[in-house]
């Protein structure tokens, strides 16, 4: 009897340990099926065509600010996939009259969401090799991606940019990328997109 109780207790312990291990490891895996987190983005469609309105960031006409522009982005039913679609939209061409703060051809290799709400955005090496340099342009590139995620997905609190799967010091010698960065709206001013 005592032996059976001991085996039962051991089974319970193993199950608890497994649940704990899954809970601890899962958030670091690429997110595919995790439940969506509340987002301010609004649904713009329904079913397979559903889209959300997200704020993306582009260089202003005078080149001195990074205004937020409302754009439609495909809906996803998990926060990880939604984050991926937002970044892919941010990496695409800018709507007129804005300019893209990200070098053309920059690829999103992977996107992970950590257990404390940090998103790790792994970009292709083009973001470094094709970057034109300059402090302001590097600030705009970095914070376009950081703000696109943290503004549209409040569950993401910080963003760290990786390049070719590795941690990076900077994109072009200025902005410190060694730590996850939080939302920074100093250079932004929300405007309405006339190019939908």
């Amino acid at each position: 009897m005592i032996r059976r109780m001991a085996i039962g207790a051991l089974v319970v312990l193993v199950v608890v340990a497994l649940v704990w291990a899954i809970a601890a490891i899962a958030p670091r895996l690429p997110v595919r099926g995790t439940p969506p987190v509340a987002s301010p983005a609004t649904l713009a469609g329904a079913g397979a065509e559903r889209r959300i309105t997200a704020t993306l960031y582009y260089v202003s006409e005078d080149g001195l600010s990074l205004p937020g522009v409302q754009r439609e982005v495909a809906f996803a039913d998990s926060i990880g996939e939604q984050a991926r679609r937002i970044v892919e939209a941010q990496l695409a061409d800018a709507p007129a009259p804005y300019a893209s703060p990200v070098p053309a051809g920059t690829a999103l290799r992977a996107l992970f969401i950590g257990e404390r709400g940090e998103a790790f955005v792994d970009l292709g090496g083009e973001i470094r090799t094709k970057h034109p340099g300059g402090s302001l342009e590097e600030i705009f590139t970095t914070y376009a991606i950081v703000n696109a995620l943290t503004v549209n997905l409040p569950a993401i609190t910080r963003v760290q940019i990786l390049i070719d799967g590795k941690e990076a010091d900077t994109l072009a010698g200025h902005v410190d990328l060694r730590h996850p960065l939080q939302k920074n709206l100093k250079w932004t001013a929300v405007q309405t997109d006339n190019d939908k």
Partner: protein, 468 residues
């Protein structure tokens, strides 16, 4: 002896009146001074001073009948046994016995146009006077003797020679034919040291202009004394002594590129060299460039140059870029701490800790994480950025965002006030030409010299509270 400087133990015994006894059976030595004993063992780099273990850099060595001990045996072990003051000065090969005053004087001489500057670093700080006696200046110290390392002259027409004076604690400066006058400035140094600066000024009639020097002309020439040579603007006590100028990018990192092919790394190096010449010539500061050629330098290495040289300011020079060719104007950045969270907060409030020092006592050590060193200087960096912006504005086009904060990698590790100056947008065709021109570069240099001077005057003594 085997890379170690050693004293013969017999010589020390005679000098300090101690007894040396060898215990052949145990392979040891006993040195007796009064009631105190020092026990040494062959092959062991340790000494036991009345039961207290002291580390030595090497073990005692026997050569024939003579035993040798490392020179550090004197201050570390013998001084404890004797109980008096014993100071070993390796560079000058001196042992100071007892409570006598023999300050260490290290001199250097610099030719700064019509002024030759003799700088004497005095350790410990010792009262002194400087007097002119005919064609000689005499610096007399209130001490029994001097342990001096004096420099060779760099401009014999002004200073013929710097040598020990006739008195045992004096230094004589023999003056040359162009000597006109002199002035002195005393500044306190770190850890009880002092610095005496003597400027020997040449006669004005022979002051030659140097047309090749890119130093900009003073913006406000003194009409009352047009013949007076530009005197060095000596810093008040406790202010700027060294500045590190960082020419952004370099080597394999071109930085931003202009539509006409100009490279940011070339512009930054050119301005850095001009700024160095201007700061040295006008303010008499020690200026260190993080690079003085087309070399690749890491961002950590740039801050390390400033930290290792104990620079008082760090100025990083850059040229900006934009996808908009019309964007123009200079911008001045200092570090933003928001992105660094709690680490910045902790780094900003580091207190010194008293750590035990070998041989007894303690020393205040400030443990600063280099990675976050700038956190302690944000206010001063903001003031420097404002000063730079105020001086740039009347001279060069400014951006609508003239002063900004950002988490810049090159600034975060600087352990002194630090700014990054974007001189203009190299991607703007008109600004690309400006950035390459002598006129524009000299205007930037003028602005930086003026702003650094203003910052120095406004923050006299403030920096002393920092990590020095």
């Amino acid at each position: 002896m085997a890379g170690q400087e050693m004293f013969a133990l017999d010589d020390l015994a005679r000098l300090f009146n101690v007894a040396v006894r060898e215990d052949a059976a145990a392979g040891g030595l006993t040195v007796t001074a009064g009631t105190q004993t020092i026990v040494l063992s062959a092959g062991q780099s340790l000494a036991s001073v009345s039961g207290r273990l002291i580390s030595l850099p090497a073990a005692p060595v026997r050569d024939g009948r003579t035993w040798y001990v490392p020179v550090d045996f004197v201050p570390r072990a013998l001084a404890l046994a004797i109980g008096g003051r014993l100071e070993l000065r390796k560079p000058s090969r001196l042992i100071l016995v007892g409570d006598i005053r023999v300050p260490r004087i290290v001199g250097r001489m610099e030719a700064l146009g019509s002024v030759t500057r003799l700088t004497l670093d005095i350790s410990p700080a010792t009262p002194h006077t400087v007097t002119q006696e005919g064609t000689r200046l005499t610096v007399r110290f209130e001490a029994e003797a001097l342990d001096a390392a004096l420099p060779a002259t760099t401009s014999p027409e002004l200073v013929v020679n710097v040598r020990p004076g006739e008195a045992p604690a004096a230094i004589a400066v023999d003056l040359g034919t162009r000597f006109s006058s002199f002035r002195t400035v005393d500044t306190p140094g770190d850890r009880g040291t002092a610095r005496l600066v003597i400027d020997v000024i040449a006669q004005t009639t022979e002051a030659p202009p140097n047309p090749s020097t890119p130093t900009p002309a003073p913006t406000t020439p003194n009409p009352a004394a047009p013949e007076t040579p530009p005197l060095i603007d000596l810093a008040p006590a406790g202010t700027l002594r060294a500045i590190v100028i960082d020419a952004g990018h370099g080597g394999s990192e071109d930085g931003a590129k202009g539509p006409g092919g100009a490279l940011e790394k070339q512009v930054t190096l050119s301005v850095a060299r001009r700024l160095k010449a201007a700061l040295e010539g006008r303010l008499g500061l020690r200026v260190i460039l993080t690079r003085d050629g087309d070399t690749t330098i890491g961002l950590d290495e740039r801050a390390a140059v400033a930290n290792n040289n104990k620079a008082d300011l760090f100025v990083s020079l850059h040229a900006n870029a934009s996808p908009r060719p019309g964007t123009s104007g200079a911008e001045v950045f200092y570090l933003s701490l928001d992105e660094y969270g709690d680490a910045a907060e902790r780094a900003a409030h580091v207190d010194s800790e008293a750590l035990p020092v070998f041989g007894g006592g303690s020393r205040d050590i400030e443990l600063i994480l280099w990675d976050m060193a700038q956190a302690r200087y944000i206010q001063e960096s903001a003031a420097l950025a404002q000063s730079v912006e105020a001086s740039l504005r009347p001279r060069v086009p400014m951006s609508a965002r003239a002063i900004q904060q950002a988490p810049f990698r090159v600034l975060v590790g600087a352990n002194m006030p630090a700014v990054l100056v974007e001189m203009g947008f190299i991607t703007n065709p008109a600004q690309e030409k400006q950035l390459q021109s002598d006129e524009f570069q000299n205007l930037v240099v003028q602005a930086l010299v003026e702003s650094i001077t203003r910052f120095r005057d406004a923050h006299s003594g403030v920096h002393q509270a920092g990590a020095r």
